[in-house]
Symmetry: C2
Subunit: 354 residues, 2 copies
């Protein structure tokens, strides 16, 4: 039992209408913080009014990106229950990221209490409308005020939450993807398997460039051969080729996505063969030419499942499933969101009710 000290905000914010929500912008009234000091361990778990953190200008997080994060959601079901999707998977992954970044391990009980107690306090912020949810962002930062390049002795674990609108208010819509051949997001031996700031910092320029050319996201190639597909934007990626499902294997530079994991499970439940392996962009474009590339989609917490309608690369462009949502993509989306919002049974015990 984690003893959390709660200090309530004296003035509560007005809750924005769900239709006006922009992803990640409308933070709620409170946040959870716990401190870690070497020798002392984790201490002072507390919920306080949401507001600026006081960070020393020499703090490691501002110079050496000693930072990791997670993303998950709280869903409101038809009967008003608030529930989480696989939160322990997020906590386990945060501890894997922590190992890579030399941040301390956080006990599951503390990390989870930070999430559940904050969401309970902010339960009125979990929106009611179809497809909406409360996005949860746990993160950990190294805050030692010292410029030496060393891991931090002082660390904070913080949880912030914000209501998010339906990712596809008009229904699932296919996106156009550009295959990035210049910038690299991560490489084996680097931090690609960790959910850490540096991977995202490396991705900003290509994302901006793709957007300017009218594409939603980039398809990332591996940093070694510049040939094998890794992720799409900040999501994992899957392809249906000739009835079989292909997805890049967890080779050390690909994030072990929780939506990815859930999709693989559902696909196997439905009898699909799922191959986790190297997939080159040549193989993909060849399959598109042969007519065997039937569907493609990204998987991630924000969008759940995001159909890919077009893939482009210097001089090449292919349309996937006629730039329509593929049948299996739609089925995956319907089933995962069905479980998340409590409309469908939860055969794998993925749901944690609050």
């Amino acid at each position: 039992m984690v003893d959390i000290k709660i200090t309530r905000a004296s003035v509560l914010k007005e809750k924005p209408a769900s239709s006006t929500l922009v992803f990640g912008k409308s933070m709620t009234d409170h946040m959870f913080i716990a401190d870690y000091d070497e020798g002392q361990g984790w201490h002072d778990p507390r919920i306080v009014p949401y507001g600026p953190l006081q960070i020393d200008p020499a703090a490691k997080v501002l110079h050496y990106a000693e930072e990791i994060f997670e993303g998950l959601k709280a869903y409101r079901t038809a009967d008003g229950t608030i529930q989480l999707f696989r939160p322990l998977d997020n906590i386990a992954r945060m501890n894997k990221s922590a190992e890579r970044l030399c941040l301390p391990q956080i006990p599951e009980e503390l990390a989870l209490a930070g999430i559940t107690e904050l969401v309970k306090l902010e339960r009125d912020w979990v929106p009611h409308e179809e497809g909406t949810s409360l996005y949860i962002r746990p993160f950990m930062i190294g805050t030692d005020p010292a410029l030496g390049v060393h891991s931090s002795h002082h660390v904070q674990y913080i949880v912030i939450v914000c209501p998010v609108g339906a990712y596809y208010p008009e229904g699932l819509a296919p996106v156009k993807i550009y295959v990035e051949s210049e910038d690299v997001r991560a490489v084996k031996g680097g931090t690609g398997m960790a959910k850490t700031g540096g991977n995202y910092a490396a991705s900003l320029r290509a994302g901006d460039r793709a957007e300017k050319q009218g594409y939603s996201q980039v398809l990332w190639l591996d940093g070694v051969h510049r040939k094998y597909i890794e992720e799409v934007g900040a999501m994992n990626v899957m392809f249906k080729v000739n009835g079989k499902i292909l997805t890049p294997d967890l080779n050390g530079s690909v994030l072990d996505g929780i939506t990815r994991r859930s999709c693989i499970q559902l696909l196997k439940d439905w009898g699909y063969e799922v191959e986790e392996r190297r997939i080159s962009y040549e193989e993909l474009f060849q399959a598109a030419e042969d007519g065997t590339l039937e569907e493609a989609w990204g998987t991630g917490t924000a969008a759940v499942v995001s159909p890919i309608g077009e893939l482009a690369m210097e001089g090449k462009k292919v349309t996937i499933s006629g730039n329509q949502i593929g049948e299996l993509t739609q089925k995956l989306y319907d089933n995962l969101t069905g479980i998340q919002w409590g409309r469908l049974a939860d055969p794998h015990n993925w749901i944690m009710k609050l």
Copy 2:
């Protein structure tokens, strides 16, 4: 002319004795800040009392490592002049890093004024003792309070300074280096050529591991072939092999170090042939075996020149120049520090007096 508003600290800190200084821990009384907002550009350059920054918990820098930095020093000469070493090179590099990280370009005049005006205000903090200096850390952070993975519209450029002791109070001492074969610091297409947090975050684990085994730093291999030498710790690296100087070329994942650049210039002035090219660890160990690896050293702002006395890798270990400081290493150190502290002439106009 940059119009900087100065707010002085009401109480000044006691200045620590130079002999007690730990690198990067004793910040001075003031800091420089300028804000950038998209559409408005840079504004409100100011010097304020040193203290915590107010950072929104959803700020990009805390989640997506949108952060770059520089490092340079102010030196006190025998006649009391305070001078900087190649500060415009640092500013030019910061703008290159900014391009990679989707941060705004900063005008040279503003970036330089932030450095020079702060150092002038803090001139009593520039220590007097042999080998000491004032370390200057300009940095830029993206502060948009929004969790979408996009580049920031609100940015801060901040300069903080701290006195630093002699890097080698007992004189130049050779260090032991471990060749890292698991973790990778950066890869071509990533952010290795930029001075940005993510590269350093990726380096922490290997650095910790090396230290635990009694080594000062790791020698980084490239992320593609895991074979070619890139940097040593957070420094560039050079080798004297059979009378010739070898150093890794700026291949996209190696930092374009200002001390590296200065060493190459001096070496060429002295008639040395300097080869900037791929160097494999096999070539290096072979040269050590053949007796042609005469000297090895790291180059960087903090240590200036750091002699390498031992190189180790799984199962292999070689001693370089009898674990003594090589003659050329010492000459480089003496000449660079001679120019920096104003004891020697400055033939290349590297010095900017304040």
